[in-house]
């Protein structure tokens, strides 16, 4: 069965530093992987996805993610964090019937 894991409940970063939010996956077949962001009291917003092609995927708000097949990972990255990036981040994988399976979420806190 498809699954994703986000090993960190919380990530703390200083503004201006690079950030990484980790995600590992377990799928049969080729993975369809997604990152979503949730700001307080809001719905989820799509950031980026990997379907096929380049291992480095660029998305919204300066975020990017690196697909690594050998390590079954899809880590979210940003070269320089902003305080406004503070939010809850979800990794997800699409199963064979088109449904998304979400990780438990990682809370990113960026301090000035």
């Amino acid at each position: 069965a498809q699954s994703v894991a986000q090993p960190e409940d919380q990530v703390n970063v200083a503004e201006g530093n690079p950030l990484t939010v980790k995600c590992t996956y377990s799928v049969s077949g080729n993975p369809y992987l997604f990152w979503y962001v949730q700001y307080p009291n809001r719905g989820l917003q799509f950031l980026l996805k990997y379907i096929t092609g380049d291992n480095l995927v660029k998305g919204s708000y300066g975020f990017e993610a690196e697909f690594n097949k050998s390590q079954t990972s899809f880590h979210l990255k940003k070269p320089s964090a902003l305080v406004s990036d503070s939010a809850l981040y979800f990794c997800a994988v699409r199963d064979m019937r088109g449904k998304l399976i979400f990780g438990q979420g990682t809370e990113l806190s960026v301090k000035p």
Binding site: G43, L44, F46, F90, G98, K99, G105
Partner: protein, 112 residues
């Protein structure tokens, strides 16, 4: 183009009461989904629909019902509210030619 809208935003129910959470999308998407979000648990799929007249159970369907009489609307019904249904509920939709789900702002439900 409003995207995915949900009503109400907040609701408090007593045990045993019933209610319907409304979800409407104006993007002509075939696929629609209902999730619940509990703290630290990510999102769990309740029900989904691949088109008008077609619905199917997700991961946590017990205590809920859905219908899909039109492409635009996908209401979620709670027949006998229980404290375990206290959660934030999100509706999402996805077009047939894209892999990206778009989320509504959510309904925060408390059952006392």
């Amino acid at each position: 183009n409003a995207g995915v809208t949900q009503t109400p935003k907040f609701r408090i129910l007593k045990i045993g009461q019933s209610m319907t959470l409304q979800c409407t999308q104006d993007m002509n998407h075939n696929y629609m989904y209902w999730y619940r979000q509990d703290p630290g648990m990510g999102l769990k799929l309740i029900y989904y629909s691949v088109g008008a007249g077609i619905t199917d159970k997700g991961e946590v369907p017990n205590g809920y019902n859905v219908s899909r009489s039109t492409t635009e609307d996908f209401p979620l019904r709670l027949e006998l509210a229980a404290p375990s249904q206290t959660s934030v509920y999100f509706c999402a939709s996805m077009g047939g030619r894209t892999d990206t789900q778009y989320f509504g702002p959510g309904t925060r439900l408390t059952v006392l």
